[in-house]
Subunit: 227 residues, 2 copies
């Protein structure tokens, strides 16, 4: 991470990383097939740190807005040391077809972990959630977290103060959306929004409960593979 931060992602070679870690290049490649896989390891670490960081708020709060706010702020806390890296790394991750995208099939593990956190946010709250939306809402909540991440990357305020405010406002808004989603008239819209994301973001369909969803030759092909 230090090398990536100092030299930028594109200019950091596996050779340099191996040298810095005091291992042979062959050894480095034994553990990581390439730089992209190092980044996946980084994503997994962030996800695990975040999971640990939200424990306290999820054990304490039952209100949906409070739980969601806590989870979003915990993410900002955990990510703080990597802000500089995130800024220069952004152009690699913004492409949804890149393995480095948070929506890629390659990022599935970290993404599934992060969505699980939102599943727990919802399940442990007092919010009444219709059965049919129980798998859909945590994914949409995670998508709103991705919106916050995007905003945070470009946030130049002292201590990312605006991102923390957006976390609060966004959490209130998302919680309100979740509460409204129990109205029958709205459920089709929630499903449609969710389907739009899963159909158009490669890798997203992977975490869907229904593995039978057949898609064509493109990116969502593996997404439809049975879990």
């Amino acid at each position: 991470m230090r090398l990536f931060r100092e030299r930028g992602y594109d200019r950091t070679t596996m050779r340099a990383i191996a040298q810095e870690a005091g291992v042979s290049v062959g050894n480095a490649y034994y553990y990581f097939a390439g730089k992209e896989h190092l980044i996946q390891g980084f994503y997994d670490r962030i996800a695990a740190e975040h999971r640990a960081a939200v424990r306290e708020v999820l054990d304490r709060e039952t209100d949906l807005t409070a739980r969601l706010t806590g989870v979003l702020k915990a993410w900002l806390d955990v990510a703080t040391p990597y802000h500089e890296f995130a800024v220069q790394f952004f152009k690699n991750a913004a492409d949804p077809d890149s393995p480095l995208s948070p929506f890629s099939a390659e990022s599935e593990h970290a993404r599934a972990e992060a969505i699980d956190v939102h599943r727990e946010v919802l399940a442990g709250s007092g919010a009444r959630v219709p059965e049919e939306l129980r798998d859909v809402l945590p994914e949409l909540m995670w998508l709103s977290q991705m919106g916050l991440v995007l905003y945070w990357i470009f946030d130049r305020t002292e201590g990312r103060e605006r991102s923390y405010r957006l976390a609060e406002r966004g959490a209130r808004l998302t919680a309100r959306g979740v509460t409204l989603s129990r109205f029958r008239v709205l459920r089709p819209l929630v499903h449609d929004v969710h389907e739009l994301f899963t159909d158009f973001l490669p890798g997203m369909a992977r975490v869907l409960p229904d593995p039978a969803r057949a898609e064509g030759a493109h990116a969502s092909a593996d997404a439809s593979a049975p879990e």
Copy 2:
């Protein structure tokens, strides 16, 4: 545009542009204070071309989904020659604090034009829209168009086929959201979503209907001013 496309935005100088246009550097600077202003001119041109391109569909269709689909597809048509440029230019425009961002104060003219198109999409449709949302919905519709633009930038399919499909699906979804927004229980949510964007995206508050709104140091100051 050709120079930008060939050399990339960052590596194209005003000097090179002036030379290519057969004018003196001083003359080039007389018309455009810098490269950013050339891009604003480009944004304005796209907006004007789009406005002309939607004429036919807006004169013919009254159904909201059909109008919106036509407007989004017309944008994809108009933008086709600039796809390659958009890909490499993206990292400059993605930063909401950059004057090159579609959300910046500097892009206001092109943005206001684009939002006007959506105002017309809505006004000429059969959709019943509550008075209180008449100014808010066109901006949210434009935001969904920005989502399509982001997707299009990374679309590598032949003829941007997936972007055209997203235009159709997105238009249906947005039209459904517009239709649902007349329910009283939902209106506060629509207002909140809109306020979130205007408070957190610099420049967005500018296009709000109230011209008395003082422009403070940043966008959120005016967004919180009483209506």
